[in-house]
Subunit: 141 residues, 2 copies
DNA sequence: TTATGTGCAAAACATTTGCAGGAGT
DNA sequence: ACTCCTGCAAATGTTTTGCACATAA
């Protein structure tokens, strides 16, 4: 837990505040590029690199969570308590899913491996309502 | 399940056979680039694009599995039965973990969401033995 | 024979980084 | 003042794609 050492070095800049504010406003698990677009409406001159750097820093210090879910891009979440996600295989949208956290599987896992377990994540794959509706005319089965 | 329709179109080329053979030889969940390196030893003129295209096609038809785990690159696995993975947060290595498959959570999840559930994957985060050994001199706690 | 597949190279994305000037503490 | 931070742009890393030629069926 060396973020205690790091925090004093972390300055409170306008960019950081607004990135965190904008991320906190949504539940859509935006990608870095999407956060950039949101923030740019308030800070038109912010650089994409600044967004990436700060999302990464905030994730390291635990203020936000970086989701390494399916798809090509990483996603970010201002809700830091452990919860699971479902990703639409059609459109890539990521939603939370209200499933009780399976705390016990970390213990079970640690008995099965020589890794030191840090945690786990469960990602469901599915097709969202919107994509199912727009595909209705295609399905025969 | 339209792979029945697709299969007749899928030609059995040397490249495809060797990609599948090489992927089946290892349990290390290689990235596309790593598969390319393995295959190139036997087919030096194969293109990287061919490797990407075929890994993608084989994943779509269910012959192999595409792992969308943490890290920047996708990984591939010739073992298609459902099992879980653990990824080293230090070096990025991905291993299988022998945990009973939690079939029931798909049902629980489907009651909690309006997505049509296709499946789930559990990924553990941890630190592997090798990385812990090489970091011994750094830990104070 | 002919649709599908391949090698090659360029393009398209996503992310990271070097640097000179700017701003928090 | 002294660092750390930012904007900008270039570099890097990964994956996709266009196209002319090759090849499985």
């Amino acid at each position: 837990m060396d973020f205690i050492e790091q925090l004093p070095k972390m300055r409170l800049t306008t960019q950081r505040q607004i990135i965190l504010e904008e991320l906190s406003k949504v539940t859509s698990h935006p990608t870095a590029g999407e956060v950039y677009d949101m923030v740019r409406k308030r800070l038109p001159r912010i650089g994409l690199g600044t967004v990436y750097r700060n999302l990464e820093l905030m994730a390291e210090s635990g203020v936000i969570v970086k989701l390494e879910v399916g798809g090509t891009q990483k996603r970010f979440d201002a809700t830091t308590d452990l919860h699971y996600h479902i990703r639409c295989s059609e459109c890539g949208k990521v939603d939370d899913i209200e499933l009780p956290v399976q705390h016990e599987i970390d213990r079970i896992a640690s008995e099965e491996t020589d890794y030191q377990i840090l945690g786990h994540h469960i990602e469901f794959a599915g097709v969202c309502q919107t994509c199912r509706s727009s595909a209705e005319h295609l399905s025969i089965n």
